[in-house]
C-alpha cells in the first residue's frame, strides 16, 4: 500500500464500512436485551468521519502534505474503536442511568420474559400467572426506546470534542509546519514552560483527587508546552551534556536541564495525577538518553530508576509481605509514611488485588470505618467474630476500592479469545468503562482478538512516529517527534498495563481510543505536530534530493552529526 492519499482514503472508507457493521451488531444485541440504541447517535458518530476525511483532503490538497499518512490512519483506527466502545456503553440504559438498579431490573426482566415465551408451555405459563399463549411477535412489549434526540446530539460533548480535536489538529499542524515558529519555540522554551505553570496553578486550586470539571483532566494539553520546553533546552545543550567527567556531566550543564525536567512534576504531583508523572518520566528519560547517548550515563540512569522503583515498591508492599524479609520493614517504613495514601492504595491493588488489606492499614482504615458507619447492620455483623470481620472486610473492599479493577479483570477473563460479542457482554458494570477502562470493555466484547488489534495499532503508530523522528534532520524536531511518540506510546502502555495488572493502575486514558474530555484534544494536537514534522521531513528530503542532483547549490541545511 503506497503512502498516497488515495490509498489511505480507501482505507478510511473501508473503516467506515467496518464501523457500520459494528454499529449494526450493537443495535441487534441491544434489541435482544430489551432496549433500543439511538439511531441518531449512530448517525452522529458516523458523520464524524466527514470532517476526518475533509481534514485529510485539506492536508493533501491544501497543504500539499508529503509526509507519512500512516500516522493519520492509525490514529483514526484507534479513534474508531473508541467510538464503537463509547456507543456501546452509552446506549446501555444501565451505564448512564441515575438509578442503576432499576435499569438492571428492566434488562433482567426482558431476558426472562423472552426465555419464558420461547420455552415454557401453556401449563407452566398458567401456573405462573401468565396468559397461556405467548403474545404474537407484533404485540410483544415494545422495547425501551432511546431518548436521544437530535438536540441532544447537537449539544453533546461527544459531538463537539471530536470537532474541537480536529481544530486542534489543524492548528498544531499549521504551527509546527512553520519553520519560524519552531525556531522561536526552541529559543524561548524556558518562558513557555513558565507560562504554562500559570493555568496549572489555577487548576491545582480548583481540582480534587486528580480530576476537575466533572470527571476530566483539563490540564492534559499542558503536556505539549512542557515537552517543547524540555526538547528545546536539550537541543541547545546536548553537545555540552555529552562531555562527561566519570559519567556525570558538568553541573553547569545538567542543572538547568534538571530544573526544566522537575518543573512539570510539581503541578502534576499537586494535582495527584501520578499517571502523567510516570509518562513524563518515561518520555524525558527517553529523550535524554537518545540525545546524549553515553553508555555510563545510560547505566547510571537505568540504575537509579531501578533503585527508585524498588524503593517505591518496597514501601508500598502490604505489611504481611514486608514482614517476610528481614530488615525490610525498617527500610520501608519511612518510605511508606512519605508515600501518599493513594499511591499505597494503587500498589496494593496492583500486587495483591484479590486480597483485601487488613482494616488496620492506615490508608484503608478511613474508608473501612466510613463504610461501616454508613451501614450499621454490617457493623453489627463485623463485631461478632474475627471470621465475620474478615468477610465483612472482603465485602467492603470489593464494593469500594477494588470494585473497578476487579470487575475489569472479570470482564477480561470472560471475554476469552473471541470475546462475548458486541453488546452481548457486560462491560457496563465497570465504572468509567468508556474512558479509563475502555481496554477492559473491548477485551470483554471483542476478546483477545480485539485487544491485539489495539496493541498492534499502538505499535504501528509508535513505529511511524519513531520513523518521523529518525528522518528528522535537525535535533529539535527529532527530539520533539520522539517525545510526542513516547508520550502516546507510553501512555497507551501504562493504561493497558494498569488494567491488566502488569503495572499499578493510574488515572490516565488510552490515547485516541478514550473519548473522554481533553484526552482526545491533546492526542489530536500531538498527532498534528507529528504530521507536521513528517511533512517537514519529506520536504527536506526532496530538497536534499535536489541538492544531490545540483551539488553547486548552497542551501544551508543544519545536518545532524
Amino acid at each position: 500500500m503506497r503512502n498516497r492519499l488515495s490509498s489511505h482514503l480507501f482505507v478510511l472508507l473501508a473503516l467506515v464500512g467496518v464501523e457500520i457493521v459494528g454499529y449494526m451488531a450493537i443495535r441487534r444485541s441491544s434489541l435482544i436485551r430489551g432496549y433500543e440504541t439511538s439511531l441518531i447517535g449512530a448517525i452522529r458518530d458516523l458523520m464524524i468521519y466527514l470532517p476526518l476525511i475533509v481534514m485529510a483532503l485539506w492536508l493533501s490538497i491544501g497543504r500539499k502534505f508529503k509526509g507519512n499518512w500512516t500516522l493519520y490512519t492509525t490514529a483514526i483506527v484507534l479513534f474508531s474503536i473508541g467510538l464503537l466502545a463509547q456507543y456501546r456503553l452509552y446506549s446501555d440504559p444501565e451505564y448512564n442511568a441515575k438509578s442503576k438498579a432499576v435499569a438492571r431490573q428492566e434488562k433482567t426482566d426482558t431476558l426472562r420474559m423472552r426465555y419464558i415465551n420461547e420455552t415454557y408451555d401453556a401449563t407452566k405459563r398458567q401456573m405462573m400467572g401468565l396468559p397461556a399463549m405467548p403474545p404474537p411477535k407484533e404485540q410483544e412489549a415494545p422495547v425501551k426506546e432511546s431518548s436521544y434526540t437530535v438536540g441532544n446530539a447537537l449539544t453533546s460533548s461527544y459531538t463537539w470534542i471530536p470537532i474541537l480535536s480536529l481544530l486542534g489538529f489543524a492548528l498544531a499542524f499549521s504551527f509546527c509546519a512553520n519553520d519560524r515558529f519552531l525556531s522561536w519555540t526552541q529559543r524561548n522554551s524556558f518562558i513557555i514552560v513558565l507560562l504554562t505553570l500559570v493555568p496549572l496553578a489555577v487548576a491545582i486550586v480548583y481540582s480534587s483527587a486528580g480530576k476537575a470539571l466533572g470527571n476530566t483532566t483539563p490540564w492534559e494539553p499542558a503536556k505539549i508546552p512542557f515537552l517543547l520546553g524540555f526538547a528545546g533546552l536539550l537541543t541547545a545543550r546536548y553537545k555540552d551534556l555529552a562531555r562527561t567527567y566519570w559519567g556525570i556531566p558538568r553541573a553547569r550543564d545538567i542543572i538547568p536541564l534538571v530544573v526544566m525536567a522537575i518543573i512539570p512534576f510539581i503541578p502534576f504531583f499537586a494535582l495527584k495525577d501520578f499517571g502523567q508523572m510516570l509518562i513524563f518520566s518515561g518520555a524525558y528519560a527517553t529523550l535524554y538518553l537518545v540525545a546524549v547517548r553515553r553508555w555510563p550515563q545510560l547505566l547510571l540512569f537505568v540504575g537509579s530508576v531501578m533503585l527508585v522503583i524498588s524503593i517505591l515498591v518496597i514501601g508500598a508492599l502490604p505489611r504481611d509481605i514486608q514482614e517476610k524479609v528481614p530488615l525490610l520493614p525498617t527500610l520501608a517504613r519511612p518510605v511508606q509514611h512519605a508515600l501518599p495514601s493513594r499511591i499505597q492504595q494503587r500498589f496494593h491493588l496492583w500486587l495483591d488485588g484479590f486480597d483485601p488489606p487488613s482494616p488496620e492499614e492506615a490508608w484503608w482504615k478511613k474508608d473501612y470505618d466510613e463504610a461501616l458507619s454508613k451501614d450499621p447492620r454490617m457493623k453489627e455483623l463485623a463485631d461478632q467474630s474475627e471470621a465475620m470481620k474478615k468477610s465483612v472486610n472482603t465485602d467492603i473492599w470489593f464494593d469500594k476500592l477494588a470494585f473497578q479493577p476487579a470487575q475489569a479483570i472479570f470482564g477480561i477473563a470472560s471475554g476469552k479469545t473471541t470475546g462475548r460479542g458486541l453488546g452481548l457482554g457486560f462491560p457496563e458494570v465497570i465504572p468509567i468503562a468508556d474512558s479509563d477502562y475502555v481496554y477492559a470493555a473491548l477485551a470483554e466484547e471483542l476478546g483477545l482478538a480485539g485487544g491485539l488489534m489495539v496493541i498492534l495499532a499502538v505499535i504501528i503508530f509508535v513505529i511511524a512516529g519513531i520513523r518521523t523522528s529518525i528522518e528528522a534532520r535537525d535535533m529539535f524536531t527529532k527530539l520533539c517527534a520522539a517525545g510526542l511518540t513516547a508520550f502516546i506510546g507510553v501512555q497507551a502502555l501504562v493504561n493497558i498495563g494498569g488494567i491488566l495488572r502488569a503495572l499499578p493502575m493510574t488515572g490516565i486514558t488510552l490515547p485516541f481510543v478514550s473519548h473522554g474530555g481533553f484526552s482526545l484534544i491533546t492526542s489530536f494536537a500531538m498527532l498534528g505536530m507529528l504530521m507536521a514534522f513528517s511533512h517537514r521531513n519529506a520536504k527536506d528530503a526532496k530538497a536534499m534530493a535536489r541538492v544531490k542532483r545540483e551539488p553547486e547549490s548552497d542551501l544551508d541545511l543544519e545536518a545532524v552529526q
Binding site: 419464558i116 420461547e118 472479570f410 470475546g419 504501528i460 519513531i466 520513523r467 528530503a541 545532524v560
Partner: protein
C-alpha cells in the same frame, strides 16, 4: 394431566431461533475488518522501511560498507531504533498478560476462582436465566416461578419451610437449588461458540422430579410441630426418599435478607438452619439393637439365649446392665425375638459382647456406618456423599449426611461392647437418616440396602447386600412382634385397627446437653482453672456447662406393610428439656402410626386412594 406434566421436557431452543447469532457474526466481521486494515497499515510501514529514503542522512557511497554502516545512521537514530524495538517488546508482553487473564486465570488462579462470586456478571446471569422447576413424585410443583402483581418474577416455594433444608438458600451451605441450578459466568459462550449454536448450558434450565411425596411431607410437618426432631422415610425396595424433614425449620423467603439469615444462624437454642435429619448426632438407644440383630443373623448367632434374671454384669466392667425398669422387662431364658420385642437391654448387652467387635464392624459397614478403632481421629464426623444415588457430585454434596459411626473392631473391649449392644457408649453418634437406612435393610424383600435417591428418574441402585431373603423375612417377623405385645403395642393400635401389619423398634436414649443462657441464646460457658497436684494454678480453659439432668430423646423405627414393605422410616423426637422425658413408645411411635395411616389413605398399600388432596382432613392431637 400429571402424566403430561411428567412427559413434557423443556425443549432446547433451535439454532434458528438464536438471535445472538447475528451480532456474533457481525462482531466477527468487524474484528476481521479491523485486522485487515491493521495489516494494510503494517504493509505500508514495511514498504517505507524497505524503500529507504534516499535523502536520509547517509554517508557518501564511496566509503567501505562497514564504515558506512557505522556512520550511516547517527547515534541518536540508533538510540531511537533501539527504543522502538524495546517498546514493541513491552507492548507485546502486555498482551501476554491479557492472554493470561483470558485463558489461564480461570483455571489456574485459585484466588481468582474463589472470588468469582463477586463478579457481577454471575449475578446477572443467574438473574436472567430461569432455573428449572422442581416437582414432587406426583408432578406437583415444589419450586417454580410466579409473576407477581408488581411484575416481578419470583421463585415460589409452595411448601416453604417444609422443604427448606432440602432446597437450601443462596447463603450458607448449598442445598438442592444451588446444586441443581448453580450458574457460573464461565458457562456463557464466546462469539466463536455462539456461531456454532451453543448457548448457556442446558442443564441450568432442566426440570427435575423428586421422589418426595408432598402429602406425606406435609403430614410429617404437622406431626412434628412444636418439637425438635426429624423424620426420614424411604421406600425400602427402591431407596426413594418419600419424606425428609427436620424441625424447627425456616422460611426460605426469610433468607433473602442478610440480617435475618445472620439471626437464624446465631440462634443457638433452636438452631433452625441445622438439618437434624442429616447432620445431627443422637444416641440411638434401643434402636441400635437392630444392628446387633442383623449381626447375629449374618453370623448364624440368632439362636443365642440368655437368662436375663439378675441382669448382665460382665467381668471387669464394674457395672450391671439392667432394663429400663431397673430389673428385667423380659425375664428368664429368652431368645432374640422376645428380647427384641420387649427391648431387653440385658440380652442385647450380652449379645454384643458375644458377637465381638469385628463381626459388628463388618455388618456396620454394610449398613453405611463408619466403624473405627478409636474414638478420636480423622474421618469421624465427615460427610458421606457417596451413599447417595444422584445425578451429580454437587447434588450428593448438597444433601450428604454426616457419617454415623461407632467404635467397633479388633480392639473393642468387652466393656465397650456391653454398652454398644443397647446403643449407648461408643455407638452414640447416629443420624436419623442412618437409622432409617438401617431399618430399610430388613424391610427390603431381598435383604438389600438400596442407595437412597431423591431424583425420580434415577434407576435404583444397591448399596450392599446385608441379609439373605429368608433372614430379612424372619427379622421382619420379629419386628412385627414389637407392635404385637411389644413396646409399641398400644401406640400401633390404630394401625392394626386399619388392618395394616407393620414392624418396628422403639428407642429411648439420654443425652447430655448444654445449658442455654437465656440472655445470649448461646450455650453457657465457664472458665475452668487447671491446677497441678500441688494446687498451683497451671492454666485455664473455657468449657461448656452441661445440664445436671440428661435430655431424653425418643426414637421409633418402622416399616409397613409387613408382607411387602413400601415404606420404612425413622422418627426422632428430641426431649423438650433436661428432666422431661420423651419415650419411644409413648411419643415417637404414635407419629409413625399417623404417617402409616396417611400413607394408607394416599393409596400406598394398594386399595383406593381416598384422599389425594393436599390438605389432610384429620388433625391428630398430641399423643403422649
Amino acid at each position: 394431566m400429571t402424566l403430561v406434566l411428567l412427559l413434557f421436557q423443556t425443549p432446547t431452543p433451535s439454532p434458528a431461533a438464536l438471535p445472538e447469532k447475528l451480532p456474533a457474526w457481525l462482531t466477527l466481521i468487524y474484528v476481521s475488518g479491523i485486522a485487515l486494515i491493521v495489516l494494510l497499515l503494517l504493509i505500508s510501514l514495511l514498504r517505507m522501511w524497505l524503500r529507504r529514503s534516499p535523502s536520509a542522512p547517509t554517508a557518501p557511497a564511496n566509503l567501505p560498507t562497514d564504515i558506512r554502516k557505522r556512520l550511516g545512521a547517527t547515534s541518536t537514530n540508533r538510540g531511537l531504533r533501539a527504543w522502538r524495538w524495546l517498546f514493541a517488546l513491552a507492548a507485546l508482553s502486555m498482551f501476554g498478560f491479557h492472554v493470561y487473564w483470558a485463558r489461564y486465570a480461570g483455571e489456574r488462579n485459585a484466588k481468582f476462582q474463589e472470588l468469582s462470586y463477586k463478579d457481577l456478571r454471575n449475578r446477572r446471569l443467574s438473574e436472567s436465566t430461569l432455573r428449572g422447576w422442581i416437582y414432587d413424585r406426583k408432578g406437583r410443583p415444589l419450586a417454580f416461578y410466579k409473576k407477581e402483581s408488581d411484575g416481578n418474577i419470583q421463585r415460589e416455594y409452595p411448601m416453604d419451610a417444609a422443604l427448606a433444608h432440602i432446597f437450601g438458600s443462596d447463603r450458607g451451605e448449598p442445598g438442592l437449588e444451588r446444586a441443581l441450578f448453580g450458574a457460573e459466568s464461565g458457562a456463557v459462550p464466546e462469539v466463536w461458540q455462539i456461531i456454532h449454536g451453543q448457548t448457556v448450558q442446558q442443564k441450568l434450565n432442566k426440570d427435575y422430579t423428586l421422589t418426595i411425596d408432598q402429602d406425606l411431607q406435609q403430614t410429617v410437618v404437622e406431626q412434628l410441630k412444636g418439637n425438635h426432631g426429624a423424620v426420614v422415610m424411604f421406600n425400602p425396595q427402591t431407596g426413594e426418599v418419600l419424606a425428609m424433614y427436620s424441625n424447627p425449620s425456616y422460611s426460605l423467603k426469610d433468607t433473602q435478607d442478610e440480617a435475618t439469615w445472620i439471626k437464624l444462624d446465631n440462634d443457638k437454642k433452636e438452631r433452625p438452619l441445622l438439618n437434624r435429619a442429616l447432620r445431627e448426632y443422637y444416641v440411638p438407644g434401643s434402636t441400635f439393637k437392630t444392628v446387633m440383630m442383623y449381626t447375629a443373623f449374618r453370623n448364624g448367632m440368632q439362636g443365642t439365649h440368655f437368662n436375663t434374671s439378675g441382669g448382665f454384669s460382665p467381668q471387669g466392667c464394674g457395672r450391671t446392665i439392667t432394663d429400663d425398669n431397673g430389673g428385667c422387662e423380659a425375664c428368664g431364658d429368652i431368645g432374640i425375638d422376645s428380647a427384641y420385642q420387649h427391648s431387653s437391654n440385658i440380652y442385647f448387652s450380652y449379645l454384643g459382647t458375644q458377637l465381638g467387635g469385628e463381626k459388628i464392624r463388618d455388618t456396620a459397614k454394610l449398613l453405611g456406618l463408619g466403624a473405627y478403632d478409636s474414638v478420636s481421629g480423622e474421618g469421624q464426623g465427615r460427610r458421606e456423599p457417596e451413599i447417595w444415588n444422584a445425578s451429580s457430585g454437587a447434588v450428593k454434596n448438597a444433601i450428604a449426611p454426616t457419617e454415623s459411626w461407632l467404635k467397633a473392631g479388633k480392639h473393642s473391649t468387652r466393656c465397650e461392647l456391653m454398652y454398644e449392644g443397647y446403643g449407648q457408649g461408643y455407638a452414640s453418634q447416629m443420624t436419623p437418616f442412618q437409622m432409617a437406612l438401617i431399618i430399610s435393610a430388613a424391610a427390603n424383600l431381598e435383604g438389600k440396602l438400596m442407595k437412597p435417591k431423591i431424583e425420580s428418574d434415577r434407576a435404583a441402585e444397591m448399596f450392599s447386600q446385608v441379609l439373605t431373603r429368608d433372614q430379612a423375612a424372619e427379622i421382619r417377623r420379629i419386628m412385627n412382634l414389637v407392635t404385637e405385645g411389644g413396646t409399641a403395642n398400644s401406640a400401633m393400635a390404630p394401625v392394626k385397627a386399619a388392618g395394616i401389619r407393620s414392624g418396628g423398634k422403639t428407642g429411648t436414649a439420654q443425652k447430655a446437653v448444654p445449658i442455654i443462657d437465656p440472655k445470649t441464646g448461646e450455650p453457657m460457658k465457664r472458665v475452668v482453672i487447671e491446677k497441678d497436684p500441688k494446687g498451683k494454678i497451671i492454666g485455664q480453659h473455657t468449657e461448656i456447662v452441661m445440664a445436671d439432668k440428661l435430655r431424653s430423646d425418643a426414637w421409633y423405627l418402622s416399616f409397613a406393610p409387613l408382607e411387602k414393605p413400601v415404606l420404612a422410616m425413622a422418627v426422632l423426637l428430641e426431649g423438650p428439656g433436661p428432666g422431661i422425658s420423651f419415650y419411644g413408645g409413648k411419643n415417637a411411635a404414635p407419629i409413625a402410626a399417623q404417617l402409616i395411616l396417611r400413607a394408607k389413605s394416599l393409596g400406598y398399600f394398594g386399595g383406593p386412594a381416598n384422599q389425594p388432596a393436599q390438605q389432610p382432613g384429620q388433625t391428630k392431637g398430641k399423643r403422649r
